[in-house]
Amino acid sequence: MMRALKSFGAFWYDFIIGDDWQVAALVVAALAVTALLVHAARVNAWWLLPACAFAALVWSLRRATAGKP
């Protein structure tokens, strides 16, 4: 039972988070800051999430290819 639960969890982790958990962390953080800016500071920060998504992609690609020929 535990093994089945573990492999079920591993499947969903691999399915959604994939090879780089830091991309997921950056997207979640960007969404939290966007919500904060919209609701607390009344700033319509529509640009923040796309900017962070692009930065996360470039950063992840840079780390994945660093030192590789």
Partner: protein, 263 residues
Amino acid sequence: MTAALPLVLTVFVACAVEAIEALTIVLAAGLTRQWRSTFQGMAAALVVLAAIVGVLGPTVTLLPLTALRLVVGALLAIFGLQWLRKAILRATGYKALHDEASAYLREVAAAEAAPEVAKRGVSDWYAFTLAFKGVLLEGLEVVFIVITFGDNQRDLGAAVVGAAIAVVVVTVTGIAVRAPLAKVPENALKFVVGIMLTSFGTFWGAEGAGVKWPGNDAALLVLVPVVAAVSLACTAWLRRARRSGGAAGSRLQASVSEGISGP
């Protein structure tokens, strides 16, 4: 129907990629073992998937749209960025291309080596579990895409139509050629799906966080090409880096050989 076309097309391409991967596994099980147990495995997986859709579909619809868009948008953006990352690394040679022909040969070799064991009313347990796992895992991805896209656009019917067409087209083509669909440009498809998932995910996620997009839904018409342009720029950047890295490596190797063979 015209308004639903982008949704149908996005779900169609995403589900076609998953269906091609499931087809490779089913063909390996059916052609090398036996079709009866393979079909039983497929049928069992489809029953489990139908139960998941039956439970999850209505539950997700009950969630308020803002919360749904925040959670699903975040999931889709993360999911889409992972697809894009993988597709860019494959397109630039930093990661090996996913090859359905070699994946098929690996499955066939494993299927031929496994003993034939009858279990729980199934004459070939290996063929049953191989088909069951393949269809269930790839099917779960299809279900995830259909429910998230369908519920967010409040048009589950259009998402189901896109997925159904993808599954039918891949199945019919698979039956016709009786071989894995190795000629389908899978990485290019994954690249397109990554762009769409990232764009929709970013759009819905930000909306869920309370953002008002300039131009409302029309913002997607700008967001999709911008995500595509950034992804293509990343591909060009990594290709250039790889070429210049390779050239620098060759120069280094030449100077080392020169030093060894020199006076």
